[in-house]
């Protein structure tokens, strides 16, 4: 793959794109884990959702 004299710019552009997309994916996954953890924690303390409590009754 011949990138010519401006190879640095091309590589920088693709790396930046990869970095930003990776950061977005990372943030979404980390956020998902955090919310799930909090929800499980609240459930353990007895604060489930209304539908969950209905099942118990």
């Amino acid at each position: 793959m011949q990138l010519g004299p401006y190879a640095g710019f091309i590589i920088a552009a693709y790396l930046a794109t990869f970095g930003v997309v990776a950061a977005l994916i990372g943030w979404i996954i980390a956020d998902h884990r955090a919310q799930k953890r909090t929800l499980d924690d609240l459930e353990a303390r007895g604060f489930g959702r209304r539908s969950a409590s209905r099942e118990v009754a």
């Binding site: 091309i10 552009a13 997309v21 998902h32 919310q35 799930k36 609240l42 959702r49």
Partner: protein
């Protein structure tokens, strides 16, 4: 504030859990094909050389930057006209994605501009319009963070999004007009006037890949937002029970 009956969003969550893995897999495949085409197959442009390869990420980013505002606008209508809870979630999830792709568009454009025009930034009509769009995304993100109550925030952002949507063509028109007034010193050319199919095909594949990427990220972000709202509701219940 009564606990929202999250029936619809629940069904949405189940759908997302099922669809997301497949969507992600398809996205990766199309991206792989697109990148292969862009980096290894596409020929060099006779004017720009290999730097034309930057176009394969710059242009799809620009498309997404604008498409995302369109998504937010449709969601805004859903919020204001139908008070649909999923509309709020869709709008909030889209905003950071749109900002990120607009930023990428500016960054890759700047990296493309340096070899092409000799400057990292020029006050060209197109770049300036995208810069203003980026400022508007930042304004939306700021508004989401500043208003406490999620439903109130959604309605405020919806109004700002729609006003912004109306303004975007006006801004584009005025910036283009302003740019032609202040002719830059060198002649600017954004690549070959007609795109040969050997460059068009990788571009379209990358365009599809980016669209799929946006769809995947958006659905995943919406899922997170729904979970976040549940957490908030339960925390409010917890606070009331504790008191």
């Amino acid at each position: 504030m009564p606990v929202m009956d999250l029936a619809n969003p629940s069904r949405f969550l189940i759908l997302v859990e099922r669809v997301l893995p497949w969507l992600a897999a398809v996205t990766v495949c199309v991206l792989a094909v697109g990148l292969y085409q862009a980096l290894l197959v596409a020929p060099d442009d006779y004017q720009q050389g290999a730097t034309v390869k930057i176009m394969f990420i710059h242009v799809p980013s620009a498309w997404l930057a604008m498409f995302c505002w369109a998504v937010m606008s449709v969601a805004a209508l859903g919020t204001l006209v139908w008070r649909h809870p999923l509309a709020d979630v869709a709008a909030k999830a889209a905003a950071p994605l749109g900002a990120a792709f607009t930023f990428l568009c500016l960054l890759t454009g700047s990296l493309w501009g340096r070899p092409m025009w000799g400057a990292y930034w020029v006050w060209d009509g197109r770049l300036t319009s995208v810069l203003v769009l980026f400022l508007m995304y930042l304004a939306v993100l700021a508004l989401w963070r500043t208003v406490e109550d999620p439903s109130r925030a959604a309605r405020a952002v919806a109004i700002l999004t729609l006003v912004g949507a109306v303004n975007l063509p006006i801004i584009k028109f005025s910036v283009d007009w302003w740019a032609t007034l202040h002719q830059p010193a060198s002649v600017l050319r954004m690549g070959a006037p007609t795109i040969h199919s050997s460059i068009l095909v990788p571009l379209l594949i990358m365009g599809v890949a980016f669209m799929l990427l946006f769809l995947t990220l958006h659905l995943a972000a919406m899922r997170n937002e729904i979970l976040r709202r549940r957490v908030r509701t339960l925390r409010l219940m917890q606070a009331q029970a504790g008191a």
